[in-house]
Symmetry: C2
DNA sequence: CGGGGTTATCGCCTAGTAGGCGAAAACCAT
DNA sequence: ATGGTTTTCGCCTACTAGGCGATAACCCCG
């Protein structure tokens, strides 16, 4: 049992903490998961790449804060999904003095191109540069969360454009999951789970020809869990 | 997009925040989920029931802090599981001034009886009293987390005693999941997933007679996810 | 010591889901 | 028309959850 320091039992002398919010904003670009990084201009860790975010405002809600900072600093306003990840509290996670960090996973659909500033870029998540502080671990946590939620929720809606063919959708899933995904199988699964539906449209195939593909869309633009996989089901469903 | 207040863009004037850690410690007692509550002696919300926890220490890690406070304040030292839940940051979640809270789920095996102080008691989670601040919502979040993790991990090890019969284990699952659980089916599922194994012992049944039950145990005392339920499997497993 | 009550366990069945793969469909280009 | 390409359909297998009756293994009591 660590007892690092003498601490007031209750209502003792107030101590307060710097608090920042950070987001790993992920997007699938060219069949690869990318993360939005921001190059630090000033020390500490000047020149290293960091996640966008910053100090929590004095009267600001956590989620409002990260939304604001993404809009202000990296001009990202059209997140399709935003959810809280872990709060990091290791005392020396930053050399500048103790700072708690509440981290977020943000997702951007594959067909939008936010205009990002000069000191900002989309980096392949499989090939991270030297990162500031503990930000590399946050990216990994965000990818894990995305991977698992793709399996038991409809979170694909946040990765894909509003309308898509099954081949395109399989590309997004392939990138995010990190393994082969069969478009036929994916279609059966998502239709059975009532996550996607055909729009009735067909879209011409590429220059190489081929049968034109049906266009699908997600039924719901908000997160829903697939309850068929609660696995210890209530009886008599 | 909420822009509640003017906030320094970066490296502006430091603002810092009170930070507390809170835990919903759950235990199945007499076939019901109970939560450890602590009666507030002082205002605000004097007399209401609250979750154990308190201020984060100046040099203390978050998880170390909640462990310490549980040990010091309510004498709970033998948690079988502890994991972080959400961090709450609503500006007015407490009337005493802004305080962020990082919340935890703690579990205690069903066969231990921690000696809790006078101002502390185990309360059935289905029948919460008037709670302080937003603590009722934290209890609900903890119960939801427990329910879902029972389905796709081996978290049952943290609910049950080290050794148990399948009837006993079904009681724990029944209470935590909130619906009927068949002992036969539960045994097949957990054996197939290699979460539990028979010890070879048999234990005499109750005063009413009946066939003596086999004694089982969990194979691992640490959290492991059941990967068979990733649901969008990699091919050729 | 044999029979009835009780509880646990086994075995067989059904239903539902994931995944593989070949055949057919529907397009383009030549 | 013919061949190349991509999508889509249909059928198959494998695996998991869940229901339920039959059997096993004990207790108690007469």
């Amino acid at each position: 049992m660590p007892r690092p320091t003498s601490v007031p039992v209750d209502g003792g002398p107030a101590s307060c903490f710097d608090h920042e919010v950070l987001a790993a904003v992920l997007q699938v670009r060219q069949a690869q998961v990318h993360v939005l990084l921001w190059r630090r201009a000033r020390p500490p860790h000047a020149g290293r790449w960091a996640l966008p975010g910053g100090r929590l405002g004095a009267r600001e809600d956590l989620e409002a804060s990260i939304s604001r900072q993404l809009a202000e600093k990296v001009d990202v306003r059209d997140l399709s999904h935003l959810e809280q990840l872990e709060t990091l509290g290791a005392p020396h996670r930053m050399p500048t003095g103790r700072t708690l960090a509440t981290t977020y996973l943000g997702l951007v659909p594959g067909d939008v191109e936010p205009a990002v500033p000069d000191d900002t870029r989309w980096q392949p998540a499989d090939d991270l540069p030297r990162m500031a502080f503990d930000h590399a671990a946050i990216v990994e946590a965000a990818r894990r969360r995305l991977r698992s939620k793709l399996s038991y929720t409809n979170l694909g809606f946040a990765l894909a454009p509003a309308r898509f063919t099954m081949s395109e959708l399989a590309t997004y899933y392939r990138a995010a999951l990190g393994h082969e995904v069969d478009a036929t199988n994916l279609q059966r699964i998502l239709v059975r789970r009532q996550q996607i539906e055909a729009t009735g449209e067909r879209i011409g195939s590429g220059p190489a020809g081929g049968r034109p593909a049906s266009v699908f869309r997600f039924r719901s633009p908000t997160l829903q869990v697939t309850d068929a996989f609660a696995v210890l089901h209530p009886p008599a469903r």
